[in-house]
């Protein structure tokens, strides 16, 4: 039987009435079934890309778990596409040994009305690096929880998160990066657009632990609000227990500003067209950053599906 479970709990809580301390999801824990549990290892040097297709397989409340271990000095790109017409939970566990470089390029794409939960956890050793490109597109609800630990000195994260939510979609994102090692670096960029009645929560936390001297963390988010009934919640948190660090975050939320509209208008592009261009832009930029034709095609296909009208869909 479905009951309410709570996911995407950030490292720090705030006023409960804001509704950002967790996400409530209807889920049948008893019916949850492990559909797959796969392990991959990348050896030192450049490895062939790993492609993960996580689908519901026709089962409701399925769980798929993928564990990727990058040995010292390994280089690996993981393309992960999660699609779900039924409630699905997917988990990607990453471990990067000294000097390993992981790229994760991810598309979270539930079908209309479906719930997709995704958990990513990463442990990075000395001078290991994770580049995360995550796209959330679809007609359902996506709950993405990214927990990244920069444990080793010099470990680094760059995260680029993009989303486009329309109709009554929900995009609920939590990203926490713990900076434990010395001279670690985190750089988080989130951008997206909310159309119609879409709702989005983004909790981004940079957590400088004691001992992370010389570390730097930055986070910024740009949200384009395009729907009359859209709602955006942004919680950019910095937790700091170390003196010698630099942390910063910024957020810009709203509709297109007058200068941008004027720029488009002077080129004969009206407001609606300008909004559509910019709503696509954040997603297309990330799709191109994937540097993979097959992934880009999937992402752009999902984008087109989100943007198509009801009539076109039918």
């Amino acid at each position: 039987m479905e009951k309410t479970i709570y996911v995407n709990r950030p490292a720090s809580r705030t006023w409960n009435r804001l509704g950002v301390n967790e996400a409530a999801v209807r889920w049948d824990t008893d019916a949850e079934t492990l559909l797959s549990n796969e392990r991959f290892t990348a050896v030192s040097g450049k490895n062939a890309p790993l492609r993960i297709e996580a689908a519901d397989g026709g089962a409701a409340y399925g769980r798929r778990v993928y564990t990727v271990t990058a040995e010292a000095g390994a280089e690996l790109t993981v393309f992960e596409v999660c699609t779900a017409a039924q409630p699905l939970a997917a988990e990607l566990r990453l471990t990067a040994a000294e000097g390993a470089h992981l790229r994760v390029v991810q598309l979270l794409n539930p079908a209309q009305g479906a719930v997709l939960r995704h958990e990513l956890s990463a442990q990075l050793a000395e001078h290991a690096k994770l580049d995360l490109i995550s796209l959330q597109l679809g007609d359902g609800a996506v709950y993405a929880d990214h927990q990244i630990s920069l444990a080793g000195d010099g470990a680094a994260l760059r995260a680029d998160l993009g989303y486009l939510a329309r109709r009554s979609d929900t995009a609920d994102i939590d990203l926490t990066v713990e900076q434990l090692g010395k001279s670690t670096v985190s750089e988080i960029h989130a951008s997206g657009a909310l159309m119609e009645r879409a709702k989005k929560v983004f909790r981004g936390t940079i957590d400088f632990k004691r001992g992370s001297a010389g570390s730097v963390g930055s986070e910024n988010e740009t949200v384009l609000l395009l729907g009359e009934d859209a709602e955006n919640k942004t919680v950019p948190v910095i937790l700091c227990a170390e003196e010698n660090v630099e942390g910063s975050h910024g957020a810009t939320i709203g509709e297109l500003d007058a200068d941008t509209l004027f720029y488009f208008a002077s080129r004969g592009i009206d407001r609606a067209a300008a909004e559509a261009i910019l709503a696509r832009a954040a997603v297309e930029r990330l799709a191109r950053m994937a540097e993979d034709e097959a992934f880009s095609a999937r992402a752009l296909g999902a984008l087109a599906q989100v943007l198509c009208t009801k009539e076109e869909r039918e």
Partner: protein
């Protein structure tokens, strides 16, 4: 002779001016704890009207129903069973300092209040433990129709209906557990009414002093600035340090009417055994402005987030704050704003400093309702970590429900630049002075918004806190 110095020089003396304890010659001290009997007794002791007696008991019921917050600093060390909620000093309220008992008067003299009144204030209220001991307003200000009196007089006198209309309507006892506590045991505080079109060019000030060990202070401040009027209200507070917890759970309700303006400035310097769980809120009508200026230096634990509800179109708020958390302090401060009216604007500009194991948290909330078309909000917060024993957290939240809004947020955490320290030392400063100067400069967003005397006091508080920060 510290006692004879002008307020401008107060901060040149050491912290002992805040830490001096007067012997307790209370006329009445309520037993510790919180029961219906105690609340009823308090109400009778104060001669409340019937509606207030009932209000207190209802608030107590709500207090017992509500849970402690599951976020923010730990309140484990606070045991309400060991807090005396009402301590009446051994004097009635006076309007002449000469009639205030000598020891209490001396305390306020050391704090510079009578001097400041003579020099630069339109009126002063001085509360000692649970009751006001002095209240006075200049004749020329009263002649303009400005009402500045203690809450008890307002509750029973000619403003009784106005008090009843506004009292705890903005911050209701259901708001949170300590608002309910306040509703049950409030005592003291000030009532201010500024009539339509009246502009006070010099501020009013209330000063709250808690002398009694293991006691709570629950003053209520209710200010109504009517249409087109303006006011600057200053609030100061301090207490001597004890080895048991003291509690401050005051409540400030501000009503800013159409095209009115209110600046509310606070220099909070409670002793470091104090739990400061104060609630402040402003309701701003069309074209109105609320400005908060806040310096938080004292308290063991502080939770303070002045809230502004921008109800009227074109209303605005500005919050300027600095928080300095030293050894043994966990100060969770910030601000909240709700945009309701069209074309409303808000700006928060804060600095926080943590040192010697202190924990400083900036917490904010910006809510833009669907009705708030054209709303603009900007939040800027900067934090300085002076050592790795301390913590500095930034926890802002934004909830935007209309597309027609522009909301910006920026935050930065870092340490003092070694280059800047080196530059100042190369010009003959000691390292301690160099660091203190940099910290004072870091906090100048607040000091430049304060009247000169208070800015000097604030900078000297920073200097006091920075003493011994090297080595």
């Amino acid at each position: 002779m510290a006692e004879n110095r002008e307020k401008t020089y107060v901060a040149d003396v050491d912290r002992s001016i805040y830490d001096i304890r007067d012997a307790e010659h209370d006329a009445y001290r309520m037993e510790s704890g919180l029961t219906p009997e105690i609340v009823d007794k308090l109400s009778k002791e104060k001669g409340d009207p019937v509606w207030m007696q009932q209000f207190r008991l209802q608030s107590l019921q709500i207090y017992n129903e509500l849970r402690l917050p599951d976020w923010g600093p730990s309140l484990e060390g606070l045991d309400i069973d060991h807090i005396a909620t009402y301590v009446r000093p051994n004097t009635k309220m006076q309007n002449d300092w000469a009639n205030v008992p000598q020891d209490i008067k001396d305390t306020f003299e050391r704090l510079g209040i009578p001097q400041a009144e003579r020099k630069s204030l339109a009126g002063v209220g001085a509360q000692y433990d649970s009751e006001l001991v002095y209240h006075n307003v200049r004749d020329e200000v009263a002649a303009e129709g400005v009402v500045y009196t203690d809450m008890e007089s307002a509750l029973k006198g000619e403003y009784a209906d106005m008090v009843r209309k506004y009292f705890m309507k903005l911050v209701t006892p259901r708001d949170h557990k300590f608002a309910a506590l306040h509703g049950a045991v409030w005592s003291g505080g000030s009532f201010v009414y500024v009539p339509k079109g009246v502009h006070l060019s010099i501020p009013l000030q209330s000063y709250f002093r808690l002398n009694a060990k293991g006691a709570g202070q629950f003053e209520h401040t209710l200010i109504i600035v009517d249409e087109g009027a303006s006011l600057h209200f200053i609030e100061g507070c301090s207490a001597p340090k004890y080895n048991v917890a003291n509690l401050h759970a005051g409540c400030v309700e501000l009503y800013v009417k159409k095209n009115a303006k209110l600046r509310y400035s606070t220099i909070e310097n409670w002793s470091k055994n104090m739990y400061n769980l104060n609630t402040k809120r402003a309701l701003v009508e069309e074209g109105g402005t609320i400005e908060w200026v806040s310096g938080s230096f004292g308290s063991h634990v502080g939770c303070l987030y002045p809230m502004s509800i921008l109800k009227g179109d074109d209303s605005r708020m500005e919050f300027t704050g600095v928080t300095f958390a030293g050894a043994g302090q966990d100060l969770d401060t910030g601000a909240k704003v709700v945009h309701v009216g069209k074309n409303t604007s808000s700006y928060m500009n804060t600095r926080s400093i943590s040192k010697s194991g202190g924990v400083s948290t900036f917490r904010s909330s910006v809510v833009v309702e669907k009705s708030a078309k054209g709303a603009k909000s900007a939040v800027s917060c900067q934090s300085l970590m002076l050592d790795s024993e301390s913590r500095s957290d930034t926890i802002p939240a934004m909830d935007i429900k209309t597309r027609d809004a522009a909301v910006g947020h920026e935050a930065r955490i870092g340490a003092i630049s070694n280059d800047a320290v080196f530059y100042l030392m190369s010009r003959g400063m000691s390292e301690e002075d160099a660091r203190a100067l940099i910290v004072s400069g870091f906090a100048d967003n607040v000091s430049k918004e304060l009247p000169l005397e208070y800015a000097v006091e604030m900078n000297n508080l920073i200097r006091l806190e920075m003493k011994g920060s090297i080595g």
